[in-house]
């Protein structure tokens, strides 16, 4: 058994969170640059501002977006690792707490009823998978809620098939309109149960923007959904244009013979995500 102190996990979450708040992922930046070359008018104005914004964010050490998000943390823990120290969730939350305070990030979490702020941006939304091996992989995705609010889940019938999946994805982006800060990335969960389908959609957003699914039938759904979304004409910030989505990412899991769950988790044009292996 390899022994790993949870303090190492705390420090890793801290590093990932600090970096994510100030940087777009390489895939996201490349997709935005490509979009800026395609657009004109107000949409072009918006995309140029977003690219200029990242340069200012780095220079001024200011978060890219004031919505520094809910901390979504995905832990893939090797089953040959024995964790020592503070409980895992506490270690992750401590990393978030310190990163958000030190980075001058916004504390954006509150009680859902009283709306009283938790003041330290915890608790993080933590998913843990046990995997083979003796390493721990940590992925950090700060998720803004302008786009999270526009996400949807539908329990389709098996007969709805691929066409039903495509309609669900495109309809979600259409209903969202200008509100989720397009051009969006659509993370799509297909299959599983009600809850695991939503998690698949979030996990799809952790993939490098624009990378296709390895299964060709899934990659083909991604391509077709992207093409249909970009015919909607919503454009950057809803100003009209050819690029309403930068990418569509699907993740799959076997589902029940009676169902076809489809969850669409929208991500704004600021994909801030990073991972590290300990």
């Amino acid at each position: 058994m390899r022994v790993l102190q949870t303090k190492e996990i705390e420090l890793c979450v801290y590093r990932l969170a600090r970096r994510a708040g100030l940087t777009l992922t390489d895939g996201c930046r490349a997709a935005l640059q490509a979009a800026a070359r395609e657009e004109t008018g107000a949409a072009k104005f918006a995309l140029d501002a977003v690219l200029e914004n990242e340069r200012i964010a780095r220079r001024e050490e200011m978060p890219i977006c004031q919505d520094t998000g809910m901390a979504c943390v995905f832990l893939e823990v090797g089953q040959e690792v024995r964790l020592e120290g503070a409980p895992l969730a506490e270690a992750v939350n401590e990393g978030v707490r310190r990163a958000y305070a030190d980075g001058n990030f916004r504390m954006s979490l509150c009680d859902p009823l009283t709306r009283v702020n938790t003041k330290d941006n915890t608790p993080a939304c933590i998913h843990t998978d046990m995997v083979p091996g003796d390493a721990v992989k940590i992925t950090f995705l700060p998720k803004g809620f302008g786009s999270e609010n526009m996400s949807r889940i539908r329990m389709l019938d098996p007969a709805d098939g691929v066409e039903g999946i495509l309609e669900t994805i495109v309809e979600t982006v259409k209903i969202a309109g200008s509100r989720p800060c397009p051009p969006v990335v659509a993370g799509v969960g297909i299959g599983g149960s009600f809850d695991s389908c939503a998690w698949l959609a979030k996990k799809a957003l952790m993939r490098e923007t624009g990378l296709a699914h390895p299964r060709s039938d899934v990659a083909s759904i991604e391509r077709e959904a992207l093409a249909r979304i970009n015919r909607l004409g919503i454009g950057a910030q809803g100003f009209g244009g050819k690029v309403t989505a930068l990418a569509v990412h699907c993740e799959l899991a076997p589902t029940h013979i009676a169902g076809l769950p489809v969850a669409v988790n929208l991500q704004c044009h600021c994909v801030r995500c990073g991972s590290e292996v300990l």
């Binding site: 001024e60 977006c65 990030f105």
Partner: protein, 174 residues
Amino acid sequence: MRKLSLPLSARDVASLHAGDTVLLSGIVYTARDCAHKRLFELLDADMVLPFSLKGAFIYYAGPCPARAGKACGSCGPTTSARMNGYAPRLLDLGLGGMIGKGEMSEEVRRAIAQHGAVYFAAIGGAGALYGNAVKRSELIAFPELLAEAIYRLEIEDFPLVVAIDGAGNTIYST
């Protein structure tokens, strides 16, 4: 790009058309979900608001804390549609307009046209760009709301798009 200063005159408003880009300077007040709820509680109780609505501009935003030496932290717009229920009454009371992101309701569009107000779209996700263009920031109400409190911001050359103009024309197709 055209430069414009707040407060806007009737002539300024008349010269703005949906889709125009401007660099806006002057005083704005931040307010988002919770602050609007509080403002409405004050209005319903016939109490004085923390700032005068007459000709004022509300910026739908909740900034990050400022780091040492800066007036403001990251400060981009939030989704305006969540304030659809609040905006018409504030416009009726003399609000000059709003800055936010994304489409607003038909009711808001009508109120803007009726009062000759303006709705500017800031670019969502450009928080550092806007935060860096804030020259002064002062917390004026509801400190317990943290980022959702009302801040009086002095902004300089905010790049904005006219999203709904004083005649009620809109850049959004939906």
